[in-house]
Symmetry: C2
Subunit: 167 residues, 2 copies
DNA sequence: GCTACATCGTTAGTCGGACGAACGCAACAG
DNA sequence: CTGTTGCGTTCGTCCGACTAACGATGTAGC
């Protein structure tokens, strides 16, 4: 009777308490933190009138130079279906330029503008601050640990990818 | 010209490469891993005809004993709107029993059945295996580190919760 | 005992993000 | 010239998190 009957008769305050078994599960921790993180980033970026995809695209353009929409899709992990809208928004704000590729008339060449670069710098600042808030309880060393661990996990799972790539 | 012009003219294979700046962001790592993790768990659990909410509810019942639907909602983080469906499914399979509370006729008292306990044990096994797969590239010590770091983060953010609780 | 308010279970619906299907167009290989 | 492949785009689907509202019931103030 030691293993079973763990609870069965406890007038506990088991009202608001989440079971340890649940709390410890890495999958649940990831889900929870991802949700929190997403909200934080979304709200933070919304205050500068941006979304996380904007940042992804701009950063990709800055680091690897201009590219077609399909290329950007692969680099950022955004579905090409959704890339259209993102680029529309970015173009409306004058952050990127979309021009037909003379060498391949199927493609659009996307280029980041000077204004886009400025905006990107701003977004980088914003994201840095938001991540400070996100990782507040961790020391710099611990933050590195976390990033390192997650990176290894993600790399492992994106390699012999049994699923369509999400990154 | 050392700081700028990072790319601007690179015939790189920047086709499939995701910028470091993106890869390093904890928020993105969390998002990515959460997505992978969710899929893995969902598919794994689907093979035993279960969903993750089922596990959450059963585990909660096992650890803290019977409770009303609202109580379960608070314990597991499932919205009470969605709890109805979950309990319907569990009840259909005979894993829980839903009876009106004689002391408070607004409430239903949810109790786990013997079959429910068996099922929970099974799910625990399944989840253990899935987590082994999820955390495959990490040593046991590293897995503990990860869980520890994430737990601290989540606890911090769920405390003076600026948002409605997701846990 | 009556009134005002809070809680419970439930239904329905919104919202956003990830993803698939299909189309017209252009390139390219044979 | 023909079949195949990649590109950009539109539209639609699926799912999970979340809100709104309602009837039924409990509870507290007076």
């Amino acid at each position: 009777m030691s293993s079973r009957a763990e609870a069965a008769d406890m007038p506990y305050d088991g009202e608001t308490q989440t079971p340890e078994r649940l709390r410890r599960r890495a999958s649940r921790l990831l889900s929870g933190m991802s949700a929190r993180s997403d909200r934080l980033m979304n709200e933070g970026l919304a205050q500068v009138d941006a979304r996380k995809w904007h940042y992804a695209v701009l950063a990709s353009l800055q680091e690897y130079g201009p590219g077609s929409q399909a290329t950007l899709s692969r680099r950022t992990g955004i579905y090409r279906s959704d890339m259209v809208g993102v680029l529309n928004e970015l173009a409306e704000h004058g952050l990127v330029e979309r021009m037909p590729d003379p060498d391949d008339r199927r493609r659009n060449v996307i280029t980041i503008t000077a204004q886009g670069r400025r905006h990107l710098r701003r977004l980088d600042k914003v994201l840095d601050d938001l991540h400070d808030e996100l990782l507040a309880p961790l020391t710099p060393a611990e933050r590195d640990q976390l990033v390192h661990l997650l990176t290894r996990l993600l790399d492992h799972h994106t390699q012999q990818a049994p699923h369509p790539p999400t990154s």
